[in-house]
């Protein structure tokens, strides 16, 4: 009999979910731009069940992760997003030893061993620089959607330097560059480099071990991925499921727990 497990990742700006069959086959995924404190997490569960045709009773185990994990009551267990991104990344790229996850309000770098176990991690300090929020603020000033940043950066012939680390100061800097008639693609490329420089420093502190992959919402942005690859001097693996990596990892953890419980119960 098949074993279906669910992973839910409740972030600061989005909620994501994955249903897995037997710990390896992705049955259903869902993402909504509504994070913790909204109806987003509940919607994710409903939509996952609807699209998979499964019922609540058929889900053997649910693990919740992310910033909103503590307040979600429908799960069997909660785990940190660190362990879930590590697990999900190992599933997607078994050879990966360094995972860089940039989410809405934090950035983290995880070290994995050959079996995909997390052996250490570093996270950003209390500052929004180098996170998804930084990109959102910058996109807003440029009257662009975050999803347009990649395309804009690709059109740039050069990158304009953003000196300020602080999001608020960087915002002023971008505004004054705009006032001086700066080229928007060059400005966007500079913004991507600014994030890469900040997160790259964090990654270097952990000691980069290849292969490296990116997970989290910001991984979708090719401009940041490219800038980070340049910053670290290595290729960066990326999956279209990057934004769902935490939820995927949670679903794998759920599968491991469900099968361990089954073995225990005989």
């Amino acid at each position: 009999m098949s074993c279906y497990t669910m992973g839910i990742d409740i972030g600061s700006t989005t909620s994501k979910g994955v249903i897995l069959k037997d710990g390896s086959e992705v049955v259903s995924t869902y993402l909504i731009h509504a994070g913790t404190g909204t109806k987003g997490p509940g919607t994710v569960r409903e939509e996952l069940l609807k699209s998979s045709g499964l019922t609540n009773e058929e889900i053997a185990y649910t693990v919740v992760t992310g910033y909103g994990r503590k307040t979600y009551e429908e799960a069997d267990a909660q785990l940190s997003e660190l362990s879930c991104h590590a697990k999900g990344s190992h599933f997607l790229f078994p050879e990966v030893r360094t995972v860089i996850d940039i989410g809405g309000q934090d950035a983290k770098v995880m070290k994995l061993d050959e079996e995909g176990r997390m052996t250490g991690f570093l996270m950003n300090d209390k500052c929004a620089a180098g996170t998804g929020r930084f990109l959102e603020v910058m996109a807003n000033i440029l009257q662009l959607d975050v999803s347009q940043l990649e395309e804009e950066a690709a059109r740039a012939e050069e990158a304009l330097k953003i000196s300020s680390t602080c999001t608020v100061f960087a915002e002023s800097e971008v505004i004054s560059q705009l006032a001086n008639g700066a080229d928007i693609p060059a400005l966007v490329k500079g913004i991507c480099r600014s994030v890469a420089s900040r997160v790259g420093a964090l990654a270097k502190r952990t000691g980069i071990e290849e292969k490296v992959c990116m997970s989290g919402g910001v991984a979708i942005n090719g401009g940041v991925r490219e800038a980070l690859a340049e910053e670290l001097g290595t290729e960066i693996e990326y999956s279209p499921l990057a934004q769902l990596t935490g939820a995927l990892g949670a679903a794998i953890h759920a599968y491991e727990r469900a099968t361990a419980k089954e073995r225990k119960d005989g």
């Binding site: 910033y67 503590k70 785990l79 940190s80 997003e81 660190l82 362990s83 934090d106 176990r117 997390m118 052996t119 250490g120 991690f121 570093l122 996270m123 300090d125 209390k126 502190r205």
Partner: protein, 410 residues
């Protein structure tokens, strides 16, 4: 509307170490107020100033760092820091300094009042911010400042020339204090104080070393409270007796298989840095709820001052944690980790303490590598509550727990 019901805690046994240690800390403040009322001079003293000097002279001194920690732990940190910032002090300055400077300027702090000083005693072996802090106290209050300079030590040993440099300053501080207070120095009394301080220190070191047992007979957060007595009163007879009681209790706990740590001790960690006093309950519960016992800190080693004479005392004060080089400081911590079977290191990146937090980036990496343990850091502050995020702390501690669990299962 229902009234809040406060849980009544059972009164402490007067023969217990906790009661005795609490009383010593309280009495130090009471004695200083009483001395001030009698018209005696009262000093403010930095934590690593040689306590033996005021103790031998029979002076009453208060410790602004302890006062600031007390104020912060009782919820007054932000209010006092804001007062100092309103006076023009940057919020990048140590929060203990901001609280103390605010208090000195007349801001009320019912959380932990102290009598105003007639002189200040400063020693920079804890940090150099201390010098400017005390200079400002001295200038604002128009009172004398006695300054002892203990240079940062790049070696493992303290050279004879450094001892001579420190000794001359200690002797000069004694001379100045005799002049200021009219009290006379007695070498016989000094030897008594030295013996008592050694007795207190030996008991403290032995008590903290009982963490080598599994489970540890105590919750490491106990050390954060008890160390106040080690800092301020180790030269007092009652402190020696209280620490010996503490040692006896910990030994008894081990024999009975009990601990002051409530719950099952699943994981053992070292905590690095000054406590995050404004969020003490949150930080402690974040560990306890996951079965983590903080079994050791550098305080366990740092405040055990054992020396054989005045010269040796000078040498000891040049070997306090923040005055020594990275390698020596690292080795002390590695020993604590290994002696106490530590499974993880939790580092408080304390925004107030640039010195301590600054060298921890590299030192903690080396400790983690040598001891093969995960190292996790969190942002916070020793006294300014605005520099801490509960959610961020929680995720980091959970991540640490998950690695320690995975290591156990591997």
């Amino acid at each position: 509307m229902a009234e809040e019901i406060k849980k009544q805690r059972p009164p402490l046994d007067p023969n217990s170490a906790k009661y005795k240690l609490n009383m010593i800390a309280k009495k130090a403040y009471d004695d200083a107020f009483a001395a001030k009322e009698r018209g005696e001079l009262v000093g403010w003293c930095s934590s690593n100033f040689p306590v033996e000097i005021p103790e031998t002279l029979g002076l009453y001194v208060c410790y602004p760092e302890n006062q600031a920690a007390g104020i912060a732990a009782r919820g007054g940190g932000e209010r006092m820091c804001s007062v100092a910032e309103g006076q023009g002090y940057s919020n990048d300055i140590c929060a203990y300094a901001r609280i103390s400077l605010a208090y000195a300027s007349g801001a009320q702090a019912d959380e932990q009042p102290v009598p105003m000083p007639d002189y200040v005693l400063c020693c920079n072996n804890i940090c150099n911010c201390m010098i400017k802090w005390y200079e400002n106290l001295s200038r604002e209050l128009n009172i004398p400042m006695i300054m002892i300079d203990i240079p940062f030590n790049p070696d493992y040993e303290v050279s004879d020339s450094e001892v001579a440099y420190i000794k001359n300053q200690f002797l000069d501080a004694i001379r100045q204090l005799e002049e200021i207070t009219g009290k006379k120095w007695s070498w016989d009394r000094y030897r008594e104080v030295m013996e008592i301080s050694g007795r207190t220190s030996r008991a403290w070191l032995e008590a903290t070393a009982t963490a080598k047992y599994t489970p540890s007979p105590f919750n490491g957060f106990d050390l954060l409270n008890h160390m106040a007595v080690m800092v301020t009163a180790r030269g007092k007879l009652e402190a020696a007796e209280a620490m010996e009681t503490l040692l006896k209790e910990y030994k008894e706990n081990h024999e009975k298989g009990v601990s002051t740590y409530r719950g099952e001790e699943k994981y053992r960690i070292m905590f690095e840095g000054i406590a995050c006093w404004p969020w003490l309950r949150v930080t402690a519960h974040g560990l306890r709820d996951r079965g983590i016992n903080m079994v050791t800190t550098i305080y366990a080693d740092a405040f055990g001052f054992i020396y054989k004479d005045f010269d040796d005392m000078c040498r000891t004060y040049a070997k306090v944690p923040n005055a020594i080089n990275l390698e020596y400081a690292r080795d002390k911590r590695i020993k604590l980790c290994k002696d106490n079977s530590v499974e993880g290191l939790l580092v408080h990146t304390n925004r107030s303490c640039k010195l301590w937090s600054g060298f921890m980036y590299e030192m903690s990496r080396q400790i983690g590598k040598e001891c093969d343990i995960p190292v996790v850091s969190f942002d916070g502050d020793q006294a300014d509550p605005r520099n801490f995020s509960e959610a961020q702390y929680d995720t980091r501690v959970q991540g640490l727990t998950e690695i320690m669990q995975s290591n156990k299962e591997a």
